[in-house]
Amino acid sequence: MTKKDYFFGPGIFFFTVVSCLALFGHGSHWIPSGALLDTTIQEIQKANAQIILIGNSILDHAIDENIVSEELGCTTYKHAVPGSASASWHLSTKNILPKLSQKPEWVIVFFRDDYLSKPRYRVYDYYYKKLLLLTHTPEPLLEQLAYQQTESPLADLLYRNLGFFRKRRGFRNSFENYAKYVSNYLADSNISIRKASSRVFARVNMDPELLQEKTTAAERHAEADQSVFQNQRDTTFLPAIISNITSQGSRPIFVRLMRRRDGKKEPQAAWLIQYMNELKQYLDAQGIPLIDLSSVPGISEELFTDGDHLRIPDGRRIVSSEFARRLLPLLENGVHCRSGARVYPNTTPTINSAN
């Protein structure tokens, strides 16, 4: 066999692979558009907001900013980006606040569980595109915390450098849609595969023993995955989010929102209790309030549409009022709302600890 023969196969391999990858380009990892940033800034300026609420769809479902504004007598603006997590909240606070001619008095960040200290959570694919909407510039901290020193450096390297790799979710979706189409055709059925799947594999149809085993295993895995807050805080966006807010003369508040499971009468996971206690200590040391809305009187499992989202308007109204009630004493200490705040009789404001 000659040298030419040796390299013929690998030559075709590299040519084909490189050609395909080139079709989708190297694609800079970070091509910010800032579209959401610009519209949000305009809206906040227009609203002349004294309080900005930042969070994701859980915030969107849980809090009605009009109720909060009415109860507190402050102008409130809600910046809820569906699916967002700490990376998005970092970009929002970093890039929106400096551009506002009139700074808000309070910036309130809503989170669930340990989202505040999971920098790599929701930064890929769909969420990656969402992040691009919140900046015009390179973001070194985001790059460092979300896309480097990860469990799979190889995947991150590919993600940063290959347009083809970043489009893979789209390819997978197309493939799955094609398979669904073929399945519907072969089965001569018009039922959507998604609906059929959710019915066939509904919780009630699963073997209870196996389901319990899997749930226990998943919870054990999740617990093993949770280092407590003290170990995480310096590699997260939390210090940056605080700094982004305080450097603009605003004051931060963090609010933990409730989930459906919090409505059950079951004890919380030990790691989460410890996590919240440590988070509270950390924030207390800096004089930053933490409001725990994981337990709200009147909210039961039935008021949730799924695991995370409250029903509108019933669930939202209750939580919005409760949030305003707990926020009020804090505002009285440091904020002068433009139209005055209503005072609640017989309430002793408290900031709950984790449990």
């Binding site: 023969d5 084909t16 799979s152 190889l154 089965a187 066939v200 196996l210």
Partner: protein, 464 residues
């Protein structure tokens, strides 16, 4: 250290480069031995103590067996080796299984005695290297092999990292000479090896991990229809082949890059036309081990066709099933295959029998597919009572949704299997066509980028 992790890729790259830079075979073997212990200890450091103890005992036992001319002494050393290795395997793998079974029997008989299960973690790969070391001492006892002087060489034979945790199970007679000889590498070998590794990663990350989702879901249902169970079993049959043969391909490719040739472990097992044919194609290194060290010593086919043969074959396959896992479904799966082998043998379709005509071949293949699939449903089920309930009480087609999902699972399994079928076709009909081979490799690489999941599942055979 998982083959599918970035850590392994870095480890393998550094080891391979350092390995070929070393000037002598001895220094290469020392590096590989250190690398193998690092690889194994990465999972859990105390695993190294276990494997080292087996290595040392079998090294000494091998020398003592060969050195003695007295049959009694030879037998004592052989039995010591067997007892030690099987005790380790029995304790770590089967202790809780037996305790649990005793508890069940005790409850059934109405006794209140309950044994506490022990918090034992099964060391991965113990079933594989135990069989390897056993073959060494048994072969020396049978005077088919000379004991080795070099402890490094022998330790490397036991712990060689590409095949340490899930085989293929190498025989000392075949692998030790490779360790003792100088190795060389040339471009064609590198190309073949990387292509083999790519195929392995493709099978595992694209095929096995993706079809596993359906199998897992269906086997977690309370009462799937028969059709849904069949679809789930089909998905599992593709998953287990892609998973295990994928591991073997990566192992063989990695070994080839280091200058070693590991034994072929799979030869299109789902093309088998009889149970004997299946076991000549599936996990070949294991089935040949069981044949040589269990089946033949028990009497093999020499005992005749009647009940003695049934006893031998069913016992052998029962042991084979138990090797796969410490649960009754694995034992039943082994016994089921034993019964199949016996029935085919009695009807004159055992051994090397092949159908003579195309229709007969097609019929035999279809029948074998059904038997194999049913076997996998026993293998995959988490409890035999679940399977018997589903088979006795389940509806045939189920609701329209169940029917649709079953069709969807079959379609997706077929789509994920398509590249592997294409590869089989190319390997069979166009083995010398470099363009087709390279195009398949390119497609596999690109599909790997698209379909590999962020979190890969463990290899199924790690648990055995």
């Amino acid at each position: 250290m998982l083959f599918t992790s970035s850590t392994f890729l870095l480890f393998f790259l550094l080891t391979t480069i350092s390995y070929w830079l070393l000037p002598t075979k001895r220094s290469q073997n020392i590096l590989l031995l250190c690398g193998s212990y690092l690889f194994y200890g990465w999972i859990h450091p105390w695993y190294c103590i276990l494997i080292a103890s087996s290595t040392l005992l079998d090294y000494v036992a091998g020398k003592k067996i060969a050195a003695s001319s007295k049959q009694g002494v030879r037998k004592v050393w052989l039995l010591s080796s067997i007892a030690w290795n099987l005790s380790l395997l029995g304790f770590f793998k089967y202790c809780n299984f037996f305790l649990d079974s005793l508890n069940d029997i005790s409850s059934t008989l109405g006794h209140s005695v309950q044994f506490q299960l022990l918090p034992i973690v099964l060391p991965v790969g113990i079933s594989f290297y135990t069989f390897q070391t056993l073959s060494y001492t048994i072969d020396i006892y049978r005077k088919q092999l000379e004991p080795r002087e070099s402890l490094v060489d022998f330790a490397l034979f036991v712990s060689f990292f590409p095949q340490l945790v899930a085989g293929p199970i190498e025989r000392a007679r075949r692998f030790l000479p490779q360790i003792e000889s100088p190795r060389s590498i040339h471009p064609e070998q590198v190309i073949q090896a990387t292509s083999l590794m790519l195929r392995g990663f493709f099978k595992k990350l694209v095929v096995a991990d993706n079809v596993a989702v359906f199998a897992d879901q269906i086997f977690s249902l309370r009462q799937p229809s028969m059709l849904l169970l069949a679809a789930g079993t089909l998905a599992f049959s593709v998953q287990i082949l892609a998973d295990f043969s994928g591991y073997t391909d990566i192992a063989r490719g990695a070994a080839r890059l280091l200058g070693f040739d590991l034994v072929v472990n799979f030869r299109q097992p789902y093309l088998a036309v009889t149970p004997s044919d299946f076991w000549r194609r599936w996990h070949i290194s294991f089935s040949s081990w069981i044949r040589d060290y269990v089946y033949i010593p028990l009497g093999g086919s020499r005992v005749g066709k009647g009940l003695p043969f049934a006893r031998v074959i069913i016992l052998t396959m029962g042991i084979s099933g138990l090797w796969h896992g410490a649960a009754w479904n694995f034992v039943v799966w082994g016994l089921y295959h034993g019964a199949l082998l016996y029935c085919y043998h009695v009807m004159g379709f055992g051994g090397a029998w092949r159908p003579q005509s195309a229709p007969a071949t097609l019929f035999a293949w279809l029948l074998m597919c059904v038997f194999t699939l049913f076997g996998w449903s026993i293998f995959r089920t988490s409890s035999l009572s679940w399977l018997s309930r589903v088979l006795s009480e389940g509806t045939c087609i189920g609701s329209e949704e169940q029917y649709l999902i079953a069709i969807h699972v079959i379609v997706l399994t077929a789509l994920y299997s398509l590249p592997l079928l294409l590869k089989c076709y190319i390997d069979h009909y166009e083995p010398r066509n470099k363009v087709l081979q390279a195009l398949w490799d390119s497609a596999a690489f690109l599909l790997l980028l698209v379909f590999a999941k962020e979190a890969s599942k463990n290899f199924i055979y790690f648990q055995f």
